[in-house]
Symmetry: C2
Subunit: 269 residues, 2 copies
DNA sequence: TGAATAGTGTCTATAAGACAATATCCC
DNA sequence: GGGATATTGTCTTATAGACACTATTCA
């Protein structure tokens, strides 16, 4: 064995990686590790949880799966799973989304890492939360191999970017009890969305390929939880250079049809 | 044993928590765990790394510690450490800051979680990165029990919020080689700072208790990496309600002294 | 033709940038 | 007084909000 310090690591680690040394190495860390008993202090587990966000019926919507086991059996959870040893965090989140919702090539971004020791009553589980955005068609097509995923409407009890947990209800309006700290994760996702909307073209992720200016405005209003000035919104969007008119128009709308626009690739997302 | 599934968990875990069950429970997760060999797939380790940011000599500055062990011996690293089993992530970051820099009651916020499988050559280490802000006096007083921490000047090779790794140099201008992905962590910290500056009073964290408008403007300019319009900056700050004049003035400045202001508590940070 | 929304043009209020004029300190 | 920066005031320009008016589709 090249390095005697390996013996201080977890048995698991030392069996598999006899040559590895302390990951962060300075004196105080070594002191800590010298007195560190891996059987007394097992490693935390690491999971990813994904808040899949869409807009249905003019409401912010997410995708929850009913828990079939204790604890919190019967409550609703975001799709999640363990991070595998040789898999990046992004890849783990994409895998969860693919496995549990059948979705690939989705806008997916890391949100925040939740690690309160008591957040899961069984053991220490640190979860890296992600959020994903899909338009209503892809959202409705999302399915789960594992149970009865449902569309959950998000009710945000705070304004602006104050932040905090949110409430969710099913499509009949009945409240859904969220498992663990998933109400906080969803709240963080809404806060992030509101913050990013001002300076990134994130709203397009929630719309079909072509859309009208009013549809885009409704997306923004739904995310922000407040009405926007129509004239100003229109001017800003057209001036942004992010939209390109298709020349085509809506049809069968019972009034003058609006022009359909498309998102122009190239601007940062 | 109440639950037979516990036998599938890691040996470490099952010794300590014989009754715990699968953390995220649905069919596909159970399928995964049923074929999951804990000795073949050891848990990732979890650390925190803290980018301690200040402004010295009109430059963005951070605090790095020289590595005394392989790998990357001799390169420079952000202070970091393992997350203990019963310690929150925030508490771990505060502990690192206290232990390695002697700083308490510091502005400290979670930044991003870095978890590429190859980011540490020894084993899988997922790190939850934090950033902390202190004014120059506290920064200069920061010390480490473990080695030779130094002031490192940050050179940001991109504009706006483009993001990406940054370079660092010592106070003589000589480049410092950063360990692992710490250049990415610092880059993320700068990007976050630039983004937050527009709508949060984050600049006050980098200044002494009282300060002039020009000093505040210089902080903003240093963070943003570009010059700001003096008149407009002054008007915006005074109109924000975040500043309160103290009636006192600078002295010994060789020109007309400016009024000293104080940050008004109460606005969100 | 009427209902309903799309799209255009104009006016006003507000904020930012530019710049000039004055104030106040130290030397 | 001279040098230097603070502070105030004014003008111009860009953008947001408000509102009136015209355009186009379907029923």
């Amino acid at each position: 064995m090249k390095n005697p310090k390996a013996a201080r690591l977890t048995k698991q680690g030392s069996r598999r990686f006899p040559d590895r040394v302390d990951p962060i190495v300075d004196q105080s860390e070594r002191d800590f590790l010298a007195t560190y008993d891996p059987s007394a202090f097992p490693h935390p587990s690491v999971t990813v949880d994904v808040a899949l966000i869409s807009i249905t019926h003019q409401k912010l919507t997410t995708f929850v799966v009913r828990r079939t086991e204790y604890p919190q059996r019967g409550s609703w959870a975001l799709p999640g799973g363990f991070v595998r040893f040789s898999e990046s965090l992004d890849a783990a989140a994409a895998r969860v989304l693919s496995t549990k919702a059948g979705l690939r090539n989705v806008f997916l971004e890391q949100l925040y890492t939740f690690g309160e020791p008591g957040r899961d009553p069984r053991t220490r589980i640190i979860t890296v939360a992600y959020y994903a955005l899909v338009n209503v068609d892809r959202f409705m097509a999302a399915d789960s191999e594992s149970g009865r995923p449902i569309e959950a409407w998000i009710d945000v009890p705070w304004e602006g970017e104050a932040g905090g947990p949110v409430d969710v209800a099913d499509t009949s309006g009945a409240p859904l009890e969220l498992a663990f700290d998933h109400a906080d994760i969803l709240g963080m996702a809404v806060k992030r969305l509101r913050g990013k909307l001002d300076y990134t073209p994130i709203g397009f992720q929630l719309l079909p390929d072509t859309f009208t200016l009013r549809q885009l405005q409704e997306v923004h209003e739904t995310i922000l939880g407040r009405r926007l000035n129509k004239d100003s919104f229109r001017r800003r969007m057209l001036a942004s250079g992010l939209l390109k008119g298709t020349g085509k128009r809506q049809d069968e709308v019972g009034h003058r049809p609006a022009e359909l626009f498309r998102f122009v690739k190239g601007a940062a997302v």
